[in-house]
């Protein structure tokens, strides 16, 4: 494919879309599919055909529109009207009202802060294009950035734009992406280089990457290809969880389409650049989110990390220099190349640029997927976008960063969301899971929950993590069943310090975070369990005959 052909394809697609006076977009991302949106889409297809509207109304299965709790979501005529909780019997009525007054009882107000306060860059196509059609992606400026990069930029210029953009790793670490790229670009050890996309979204409570892969898979592919060009790697792998079958299927389709259009493979877009992508399936191991463990897993081995240095950027997959970024990072690349790094750097705060996608869940009114500019406050996210706490309950804490993160109490709600501020209060940005908790959650129980997670997911390679997490879990168990004393609490604090400082990889190093942050802000709850033998939230069953495992 050449530049002319790419532009022609985009134009043809535009023309064919314009020929339809009406459009119906049904969300077919995982959230809405679990609310039966696939059946709703089939019903629209059937009804449109039966009414002879096939030339007039385009029915499209599109990616995530964000408000998962109100699914299945249906948008009519380019998002002028949005419907929620649409069921198969509603289909006829929606079609009756095409171009007339909308069906009132189904309307979902898309002017509410949930939609209005978002800024969509990574999710710009989500909910607008059919994720299984490459033509629609191309018509939405898809692969234009790859074309620009390959035909009018040198690899170092691509890296420079990414550096200027200030983009930082969206997997949670926050390492500057441009710096990582230039390290891999400069690394030469005689072995082939690789690009790996980390789509092993293991954090419980996070579903951003899943949504991007299901809603706009070509965006990830384009970002990876640009990265491959910039660092000089001819081969890429996407390491994706087997628990996301729909994402895997759409990725496979997208890779096949890109190959057929000459956007992957040899001599991409008529240039000498070659790049191919393979999918590797994860198999349920949280530790595989760690770079070196992920590499071991791609090589078909047990996912156990190894000491760094050497960093994967120098010695990675099969010994070659390897660039590893996560889904959201790669998804931000195409817009950065298209609009320039300076444009991206104009969004966000001084140290944290651009936007971040969050998965808002837990005890909050509007659960779903949101993309917001960095620097927005937690209060805006939870109370404006999220609509506050349901059932008249009181906000207690918001958990960010999954098992490696912490719980943030009410006094910090006005703090801006960026890498540094979150770290300062003992949590992390993480990959974007944001779980809201109200007064019915016991913070000691939450800490125990995360410790149980880390204990089970510890790969067993290093002692501090393998043994330390078990001991900490045992102590938390004792506290929650009311058999602990004050020396147990002191030991728990000691262990946090030890495990944090001596573990081999990020899993162990961050495992104490949920305990440390709850101890910092909710110590009274720990004390209540230990001294008063009561659980203030009424979650823990104190007095029952639960024996400790410690």
């Amino acid at each position: 494919m050449t530049r002319e052909e790419l532009e022609k394809l985009a134009e043809t697609e535009h023309e064919s879309q314009k020929a339809f006076p009406h459009s119906i977009h049904v969300c077919v991302a995982a959230g809405c599919v679990s609310s039966q949106s696939d059946k709703v889409r089939a019903a629209f297809d059937k009804e449109v055909a039966e009414r002879g509207l096939k030339e007039k109304c385009k029915v499209r299965g599109v990616g995530c529109m964000g408000l998962c709790m109100a699914g299945p979501l249906v948008a009519v005529d380019g998002n002028t009207t949005m419907y929620q909780q649409v069921t198969v019997p509603d289909v006829g009525e929606v079609l009756d009202q095409l171009g007339k007054t909308p069906v009132k009882r189904l309307v979902c107000d898309s002017t509410t802060p949930f939609f209005a306060r978002q800024k969509r860059i990574v999710l710009e196509n989500s909910g607008l294009i059919d994720s299984e059609k490459i033509e629609e992606y191309i018509a939405a400026l898809g692969y234009k950035a790859l074309m620009e990069a390959l035909t009018s930029m040198r690899p170092e210029e691509v890296i420079k734009e990414v550096t200027i953009s200030g983009l930082r790793g969206r997997g949670g670490g926050g390492y500057p992406t441009g710096l990582k790229w230039s390290t891999v670009a400069k690394a030469h050890n005689g072995k082939q280089k690789y690009v790996i996309c980390n789509a092993d979204e293991g954090d419980p409570g996070a579903f951003m990457d899943r949504s991007v892969l299901e809603s706009d898979p070509h965006r990830v592919i384009e970002g990876m290809a640009i990265a491959g060009y910039a660092v000089g790697a001819p081969k890429g792998y996407i390491y994706v969880r087997a628990e996301y079958p729909l994402a895997v299927k759409r990725l496979q389709t997208a890779i096949r389409q890109a190959e057929r259009h000459g956007l992957l493979g040899n001599n991409i877009l008529g240039t000498p650049f070659n790049f191919s992508i393979d999918i590797r399936l994860g198999a349920g191991a949280f530790v595989c989110g760690e770079e070196t463990a992920l590499i071991a897993s791609v090589e078909g081995k047990r996912g156990q990390p190894r000491p760094r240095p050497p960093f994967p950027a120098e010695v990675g997959l099969w010994g070659g220099p390897t660039l590893i970024n996560n889904v959201e990072t790669f998804s931000s690349i195409a817009p950065i190349i298209r609009n320039g790094g300076a444009w991206y750097a104009g969004i966000g705060t001084a140290e944290s640029k651009g936007t971040k996608v969050f998965a808002l869940a837990g005890r909050v009114q509007n659960t779903g997927l949101i993309e917001v500019p960095m620097g927005i406050s937690l209060r805006e996210i939870i109370f404006d976008i999220g609509g506050g706490i349901p059932d008249g309950k009181k906000f207690k804490a918001v958990q960010t960063g999954g098992p490696s993160g912490g719980c943030i109490p009410e006094q910090f709600l006005d703090m801006p969301v960026d890498y540094e501020s979150l770290a300062k209060v003992g949590s992390i940005m993480g990959s974007g899971g944001m779980i809201v908790m109200d007064e019915t959650s016991c913070m000691v129980d939450v800490a125990k929950y995360f410790m149980e997670f880390c204990m089970t997911e510890s790969c067993g390679k290093c002692v501090p993590c393998r043994v330390g997490t078990v001991q900490m879990h045992g102590l938390l168990e004792k506290i929650t069943n009311g058999t602990a004393n004050n020396s147990d609490l002191a030991m728990l604090e000691d262990l946090c310090d030890m495990v944090r400082n001596t573990s081999l990889c990020g899993l162990g190093m961050t495992a104490p975070n949920p305990v440390l942050s709850t101890l910092r802000y909710f110590k009274d709850e720990y004390i209540a369990h230990i001294n008063d033998k009561c659980c203030p939230a009424g979650v823990c069953k104190i007095g029952k005959e639960n024996l400790s495992h410690a």
Binding site: C68, G282, A283, G300, G362, T367
Partner: protein, 165 residues
């Protein structure tokens, strides 16, 4: 590309699918995880026969194959029941009452432990770390179908009908 000279373990057609996938990867040992996925898709779980066959075909020691099969929680080494109920225990689901659902399901299935199958082979009860349906918590998967905003009593009823069918 190397051609498998290994005889397939039996006449079962599913071995041909597995062999075809191995051939696609050129019988490279790094395709181990991919191959185990296909075996599990075909047979529902990994047994000694299939692990031995995989080891031989990919030129790996059986210990390596067993190591990988037991390291990753996605692989089952025991046959699954006729029906499977997966309860998500991710953070969002946990906060919204997944433990209550698990309790109800286990009770309905005669006190079966997590990760096990009822003695009559009817129902397997499994927990998952998170399947990314957090916006619809608590979520469960009943025989491959995601059920959003699950309710303990309702779920228990479904398990009971599975048990008596």
């Amino acid at each position: 590309m190397k051609i498998s000279k290994l005889p397939l373990p039996s006449q079962d057609k599913r071995w041909k699918i597995i062999d075809a996938r191995m051939r696609k990867y050129g019988y490279q040992s790094d395709a181990l995880i991919e191959v185990l996925h296909v075996v599990q898709e075909s047979f529902g779980y990994l047994d000694e026969t299939s692990m031995k066959f995989t080891a031989a075909a990919l030129h790996l020691p059986l210990s390596k194959v067993y190591g990988v099969a037991t390291f990753y929680s996605f692989f089952n080494l025991k046959p699954q029941g006729e029906h499977t109920c997966v309860i998500c225990t991710g953070t969002a689901c946990y906060i919204k009452g997944a433990p209550l659902i698990l309790e109800a399901v286990q009770k309905a299935a005669g006190g079966v432990k997590v990760g096990n199958t009822t003695p009559d082979g009817k129902v397997s009860v499994v927990t998952a770390r998170c399947f990314g349906s957090c916006g619809l918590a608590p979520a469960i998967v009943l025989d491959g179908e995601v059920k959003a905003k699950a309710d303990p009593a309702e779920t228990a009823e479904i398990i009971k009908t599975w048990m008596t069918k």
